[in-house]
């Protein structure tokens, strides 16, 4: 690898935004100016030796002008639980910018982004980049309930003319009742039936959801990228903890991913 650095991030805000969901805003100017959509940081979440491993976090938003990055995290274990106690002024070192992010190629004209749960966050920077390039973007977000659709406002606030955001909740409290995969299926079908099919699908969320989306995209003959999550140790490509089976052998989710072409994966 090259071009990685270890930056000391400073917590500016750490707010609960939904059930088990927190929005962490940190001052990390170097990361904010270098990170690309779909890349992540590997953060040391504790000086307590009980936690020997860093934690990988996707970047939700980065602002090179004020040096701020946002991370949306879900409390899943003792490490993330400890993070919920972070206050403004607390500091944490992060290795960044890590990994192969979303492919932003010029031949994308109409994109479908499918985010399940916190998977909505790593798609946001991609959405912004695509919208800025004039791509027509449809976003399908899914969550258990309306109070877990914590990224929705930001997507809506983009207010781009060619951006459409659709939602699904398990309990039907917002959007359609069901899964965002249903929205994806309908959207792919409609686009195929019209004369404007998608030429790119990106998805992030629970793996079973991503597999369904990847299969739908494959059936519709649309290129699909997925962002994988794996347990990681080094985060720089050395330890081979996070490997993923691909048609080309085992690849490292940290530096060869986390974004992979779905067709490349054996999953």
């Amino acid at each position: 690898m090259s071009g990685l650095f270890d930056e000391m991030g400073e917590v500016k805000q750490n707010l609960q935004v939904g059930p088990n969901l927190y929005l962490l805003s940190m001052l990390a100017p170097k990361t904010a100016s270098k990170i690309l959509p779909g890349q992540f940081v590997h953060m040391q979440i504790s000086t307590n030796p009980a936690h020997v491993l860093r934690r990988p976090f996707s970047i939700y938003a980065a602002n090179p002008e004020n040096g701020m990055i946002d991370i949306l995290y879900q409390v899943v274990g003792s490490g993330t639980r400890e993070m919920t106690f972070w206050q403004a002024g607390d500091k944490a070192p992060m290795i960044s910018p890590i990994g192969h992010g979303w492919t932003l190629s010029d031949d994308i004209h109409k994109a479908l982004l499918v985010g399940g749960g916190v998977g909505a966050a790593p798609l946001y920077m991609l959405c912004v980049a695509l919208c800025k390039s004039g791509v027509q973007v449809d976003v399908a977000l899914g969550a258990g309930s309306s109070n877990s659709l914590v990224c929705l406002d930001r997507y809506n606030e983009l207010a781009m003319p060619k951006l459409r955001v659709l939602c699904a909740t398990d309990d039907g409290s917002y959007g359609i009742s069901g899964f965002c995969t249903s929205i994806a299926q309908d959207a792919l079908q409609c686009a195929a039936d019209s004369d404007a099919p998608y030429d790119y699908v990106a998805t992030c969320g629970p793996e079973p959801m991503m597999k369904i989306v990847a299969n739908l995209a494959h059936t519709a003959n649309v290129r699909c990228e997925v962002s994988l999550e794996r347990r990681m140790a080094c985060g720089v490509g050395a330890c081979l903890s996070c490997v993923v089976d691909t048609k080309d052998g085992k690849k490292r989710a940290c530096v060869d991913g986390p974004v992979f072409d779905a067709q490349e994966l054996l999953w």
């Binding site: 690898m1 090259s2 071009g3 990685l4 650095f5 270890d6 040391q44 030796p49 009980a50 936690h51 020997v52 491993l53 860093r54 490490g79 070192p93 290795i95 794996r230 347990r231 990681m232 140790a233 080094c234 985060g235 720089v236 490509g237 050395a238 330890c239 081979l240 903890s241 996070c242 490997v243 993923v244 085992k250 530096v255």
Partner: protein, 302 residues
């Protein structure tokens, strides 16, 4: 100025710090953080003759003050190392210890034979990996089989031969003595302690292979004890490792009898860890008026 250089069984190291095999690849991935030439040596990831796929995922789990791994010695084979990593390390000016793995005694020997024409400074014979079904720890648990593999490797090279021991034995000093008697120039210890982790909610093991090797600060007391025991059992120098995160940790291993130390899991917590340990040892020596780091070896007072 503190003299930091040590001699590990014929391997001259500019300082006592290397990397623990498997935690650092061959250093290229850490090159944004570490100048490999600033370390006493780089110990590369275990390499076999034709490469191995390694184990199924998940391969790691964090545990209190440590982690379990069952990578299973995934590696692309010795020729890849010869063609890529060794030239890179040499161009950078690093000393290179190659960790040698095999499924059979013959394979260990073949790996060494393949490496002999190339600029390798020492070999570390891995008879201690707990994550493979053949070779590794299966060979390292009996003095007889350790003696056999070390003897065959000894015949294949005149370079410094370090034998890496498993702690998963009744009496590690018996294994250490067998390695020494068969021609080892140094021993390294400890490899990881066999352990497991369970997710009570799903009733499933956290590792796909169920069991794996425990490393990190959690194993340091065990490692220190075994280094101390071995230092009284053999006269060859010891490369000590197990949970070293700081210069002070490294000094403790040297006081227990280690000539050099390896930094492993700490690389994951802090990518600068190995260089920080070098600085920390030097700082300790300056603070306590130690002119030569060799004065620390076995200087435990008890």
């Amino acid at each position: 100025m503190v003299n930091m250089s040590v001699n590990l069984g014929g391997l001259h190291m500019k300082n006592p710090v290397t990397t623990a095999s498997g935690t650092f690849a061959a250093g290229l991935e850490y090159s944004d953080f570490i100048d490999v030439a600033a370390l006493g040596a780089v110990t590369t990831k275990g390499v076999s003759l034709n490469g191995w796929e390694g184990n199924a995922s998940p391969r790691i789990a964090e545990t209190p003050s440590g982690m379990l791994n069952s990578i299973g010695l995934q590696n692309p084979g010795v020729n890849h190392l010869i063609q890529n990593e060794i030239p890179w390390l040499k161009a950078k000016g690093a000393s290179v210890i190659v960790n040698v793995s095999g499924h059979s005694i013959d394979e260990y020997v073949q790996v060494i034979e393949a490496l002999e024409p190339h600029p390798v400074d020492a070999y570390e014979v891995n008879v201690s990996c707990p994550n493979v079904d053949a070779g590794g720890m299966t060979m390292g648990c009996s003095p007889v089989s350790v003696g056999q593999v070390v003897q065959k490797c000894r015949c294949a090279t005149s370079r410094p031969l370090i034998v890496k021991l498993t702690p998963n034995v009744g009496d590690i000093t018996e294994i250490a003595k067998a390695a020494e008697a068969s021609g080892a120039n140094a021993i390294s210890l400890i490899n990881t302690l066999l352990g497991m982790a369970i997710d009570a909610r799903t009733r499933k093991p956290k590792l796909a292979r169920v069991v794996g090797g425990l490393s990190g600060p959690a194993v340091k007391p065990v490692a220190l004890r075994m280094v101390w025991e071995c230092s009284h059992a053999v006269s060859v120098p010891i490369l000590g490792m197990g949970g070293i995160c700081t210069g002070e940790d490294a000094v403790e291993f040297m006081l227990a009898g280690a000539t050099a130390v390896a930094v492993g899991t700490a690389n994951f917590t802090n990518p600068h860890a190995s260089a920080d340990v070098v600085d920390g040892i030097r700082h300790y020596c300056e603070m306590y008026g130690v002119k030569d780091v060799n004065e620390l070896i076995g200087a435990l007072e008890c």
